[in-house]
């Protein structure tokens, strides 16, 4: 009665605090590594697919099992295919892994704020990814390469645990052959077939060819890795408001209502998951926030 804020309501599908999962069908499954796979999905109801911005995520529902947040890893210019790359770590990602081509999943999204690819035009771009963190950055890379002339130098620094854990291998090789993109890959532990870099990804920062005063950094990976990446970039002279990180928190709703994803005053689902490091700096290095 008295006092409810007036506003235009977004169609929430009538569901309290949620929009209803929409049906998507699995069209193709690629096994990227032993524990990681990529699904290509097609909307069961909407021909236009799912328009999204690089860095946004969906809530993906496996029938009867549960729902998890997953970043979109496909090409934003091809929204008719929804692409998700997932590492198996527990019940929902495990159940997702067992699905077959033709099976259906539920999708809510896309949610959140993505990478600042437009604001970054005119600058060098440093992309730093650790492990599965390459997945949410791939849409940004597609965008940067599709609009290559708008950016300065583009550098991709990628770290994986072992050579067998390297994600999107064929694509990385193709990118490495380009003259307008610098790709450096490193592994924590090499093997006899590995001739490349060994060590954590942040060791690649000092000799990386970008102009720290005219660069924007996009970082995604485990929180410790991001912390060290920020330190390395700062040491090289970058400004903190040119550094962007993608945060990960428990999520139940994706729309700012369940409270689970809070990081200080921020809701990672709606204010992020991508944040300028500047906005997080007071909390980022503190424990158990």
């Amino acid at each position: 009665m008295a006092g409810l804020p007036e506003k235009d309501l977004v169609d929430t599908g009538g569901i309290s605090g949620m929009i209803a999962p929409r049906p998507f069908v699995i069209r193709r499954i690629e096994r990227d590594t032993a524990d990681t796979f990529t699904l290509r999905l097609k909307s069961g109801s909407d021909r236009n697919g799912l328009h999204f911005e690089p860095g946004q995520f969906n809530m993906l529902y496996v029938f009867g099992v549960g729902e998890v947040p997953l970043s979109i890893s496909g090409d934003p210019a091809k929204p008719q295919f929804l692409v998700h790359t997932t590492r198996v770590v527990g019940p929902v990602t495990g159940a997702l892994h067992r699905l077959k081509t033709g099976d259906m999943v539920g999708i809510r999204g896309p949610f959140g704020k993505g990478w600042p690819v437009d604001e970054a035009e005119g600058n060098d771009i440093v992309v730093i990814a650790g492990g599965i963190g390459l997945a949410p950055l791939r849409p940004a890379l597609y965008h940067l390469l599709a609009h290559r002339k708008k950016y300065g130098r583009i550098v991709l620094l990628y770290g994986a645990r072992t050579p067998a854990d390297i994600l999107y291998r064929r694509e990385l090789e193709k990118w490495r052959a380009r003259f307008d993109l610098e790709v450096e890959v490193t592994v924590d532990r090499g093997d006899e077939s590995w001739w490349g870099n060994v060590g954590v990804v942040t060791t690649l920062v000092p000799r990386s060819p970008f102009d720290p005063l005219n660069a924007v950094a996009l970082i995604c990976g485990p929180e410790v890795m991001m912390r060290f990446a920020v330190m390395a970039l700062r040491k090289k002279g970058m400004n903190i408001d040119d550094i962007y990180v993608s945060m990960e928190r428990n999520m139940k709703c994706g729309v700012g209502l369940c409270g689970h994803c809070q990081f200080g005053p921020k809701f990672v689902c709606k204010n992020g998951p991508v944040f300028s490091y500047e906005t997080l700096k007071n909390l980022f290095n503190k424990r158990e926030i």
Partner: protein, 389 residues
């Protein structure tokens, strides 16, 4: 008033307890279920009531940290107590709510949704702090890009009879939070109960068109200056008799700059992470979702239920909980309530109802914890040192 001239908003009237019964009956006739405080198992809870006699007539509550009991009063006041463990969020934001069901058809599935239509409810005895809590929930649940539809529909179906607090409780601090003891807005009608030598009277103020039209069914007397000044006096006395107080000056900044204060360890050692405080708090809104199937996995459903930032699961991500220690969970709760809430929703998340103090099994007191942080604030220490020079 003898002639039935149309009253206007905020035109004070006086009714008797018998007329209050009539008023309830009128609401029932218009299809409202009357929900109000009532005594159950030695505690005042909220439930459906038939009339004023179901209210805790002649009872008062004694509250302190980890302490609650009911006592008889010398009179038969209807509202001589403050808030119990339950709050109105129980009705506006049910502890459990089915969001949807899904049925499997070979490899596909179809969603069905049959959320119940929220009933017409008349809330009786909503205290000023609770009105403030409802206004906060309005902003949290319906003020953003996405909105809680069930809540919004239930709010539209709710009639609010507020009651001003003339007898503050032992853990109350609404005066510090600027939410009480007098209701300023957010009600359809508000009562101030006056029991004295002149009798048992209820001063009524109408705050909405719905309140006005419900009141028009009664032949209420115009309020005399005498009863109005009596009520004013009771309310200003109440403001000075709060059981607790909280210094809110600079509070948001104080908490932000003391995230790493060692003092959090002390409260962390006492807190049982039982989640009582979040469950009794009228503004805590966090929920979890639960997905389940039947045994053959043909049908699935999703429910949402109240959740608490005091559980380990709450912040679980692959590899473990983000906040494993009790200290970090208490800090998250308190800092969210009193600091982050301002950034997120433009006000404090605490209305000073005192429930979290009364119902904490180990008597942790949010007002004392803030005092302790204030006393151990390094920034403050430097200021005092400097001013000593």
């Amino acid at each position: 008033m003898t002639n039935k001239a149309r009253r206007s908003l905020h035109e004070p009237a006086v009714i008797s307890t018998a007329q209050l019964a009539q008023f309830f009956a009128g609401l029932s006739e218009s299809g409202y279920r009357i929900i109000g405080p009532t005594v159950r198992d030695d505690v005042i809870i909220l439930d459906e009531i038939a009339g004023p006699t179901d209210l805790p007539v002649g009872w008062t509550d004694r509250q302190d940290a980890a302490a609650y009991h009911l006592e008889r009063m010398p009179n038969s006041a209807l509202f001589g107590y403050v808030v119990g463990p339950q709050s109105w969020k129980k009705y506006l934001y049910p502890p459990r709510l089915e969001l949807w069901q899904a049925a499997r058809n070979k490899r596909a599935f179809e969603l069905k949704q049959k959320q119940p239509e929220p009933p017409k409810l008349a809330f009786v005895g909503v205290r000023p702090c609770e009105l403030a809590a409802i206004e906060i929930l309005d902003r949290v649940l319906t003020g953003g890009e996405f909105s809680d539809e069930y809540y919004r529909r239930q709010r539209e179906n709710t009639f609010i009879i507020a009651v001003n607090c003339t007898e503050p409780g032992g853990t109350c601090f609404c005066a510090s939070m600027g939410t009480g003891p007098r209701a300023r807005h957010g009600y359809d009608i508000v009562l101030t109960e006056v029991v004295d030598d002149s009798g048992h009277r209820l001063l009524v103020d109408t705050g909405s068109e719905a309140g006005l039209s419900a009141m028009s069914k009664l032949t209420a007397e115009r309020a005399s200056n005498e009863i109005q000044s009596r009520a004013d006096e009771l309310l200003s006395r109440a403001a000075g008799r709060m059981g607790r107080s909280l210094d809110t000056a600079d509070l948001r900044e104080l908490l932000y700059r003391n995230i790493e204060n060692v003092y959090w360890d002390r409260v962390g050692k006492r807190c049982l992470t039982c989640a009582n405080c979040t469950l009794v708090c009228p503004t805590c809104f966090c929920f979890a979702t639960e997905d389940t199937t039947d045994l053959e996995a043909h049908r699935a459903r999703r429910e949402r239920r109240w959740d608490s930032c005091f559980t380990m699961d709450f912040s679980y991500i692959h590899g473990g909980s983000v906040r494993p220690s009790a200290k970090s969970r208490y800090r998250q709760w308190l800092t969210h309530k009193l600091a982050a809430w301002h950034d997120q929703f433009g006000s404090s998340g605490c209305v000073g109802c005192g429930r979290c103090i009364t119902w904490c099994p180990v008597g942790i007191d949010i007002t004392e914890e803030v005092c302790a942080i204030r006393e151990h604030d390094p920034a403050q220490a430097t200021v005092t040192e400097e001013s000593n020079i």
